[in-house]
């Protein structure tokens, strides 16, 4: 994992949370820009998980290996599922669904940063 990249994911996810809540407040479904932004967040998250996976394969052992791997997979699948779920019925709650998923990515990436210290 690269710290700068992880913090980028955290920042991008934070913006996605706020954006999702804002579209809900103004009572609109997520617009094209917001959906593209979510796709961008997903892309950066995928890159980060791939780099982290490569480092683990390369021999890096974080304190909680199994948990770390679970998180690296989890953060990648959340946004696509939320995207699908938000688009089946498009209204203000679609934005909240995207916000909820982004909040999970936000929290899980922060947790990953904490877990990413060498074992022993």
């Amino acid at each position: 994992m690269i710290d700068a990249l992880a913090y980028s994911v955290v920042a991008l996810a934070g913006v996605a949370v706020i954006w999702g809540i804002l579209t809900a407040i103004v009572n609109k479904p997520p617009g094209k820009a917001q959906l593209l932004y979510a796709a961008g967040l997903e892309a950066v998250t995928v890159v980060q998980s791939i780099i982290a996976a490569a480092k683990i394969i390369g021999g890096f052992r974080p304190v909680e290996l199994a948990t770390t791997i679970g998180y690296l997979i989890g953060i990648v699948i959340l946004i696509p599922i939320a995207w699908f779920w938000a688009n089946v019925e498009r209204n203000r709650f679609s934005g909240v669904v995207l916000a909820v998923a982004a909040l999970a990515v936000f929290a899980m990436t922060l947790r990953l940063l904490m877990l990413w210290t060498p074992a022993g």
């Binding site: 948990t67 679970g70 209204n91 679609s94 909240v96 669904v97 909820v100 998923a101 999970a104």
Partner: protein, 147 residues
Amino acid sequence: MTDVHAQPTGSTGPSSTGPTTSGAGRVLVAVYGIFALAATARASVQLLTRFDEAPLAYLLSAVAGLVYIIATITLARGTRASRRLALVAIIIELVGVVTVGTLSVLDPEAFPRATVWSIYGIGYGFVPLVLPILGLAWLWHTRPVND
């Protein structure tokens, strides 16, 4: 699960398929889905790697994960039968989070490692405590009119 709205449900009318999954219900299902993922993954890691340390806590973790999975699927389906199952799952969830939360405060020794329900879900921003209440409220809110 793309066919949730296409379930043939016999004599029950079209209104009985999916009220739980519409509007705010989509958010509820999304949050339940995340907790299903989080609790199940966490329990799997705990059971597979260090079951001996705290068997009770880790088994309860697994139960929590299962309850969240059932609640997610049944709320997402929203048929009459699945609403009944959702009600049972959510009541178990409420009893579970209150029981485990209270035990983990009274007897921290029994819960040396955090589970999703420890201290009423403090590790997850107390969402595990609020979620079953929202779930029950939502089932009540979307109850069939003449049932």
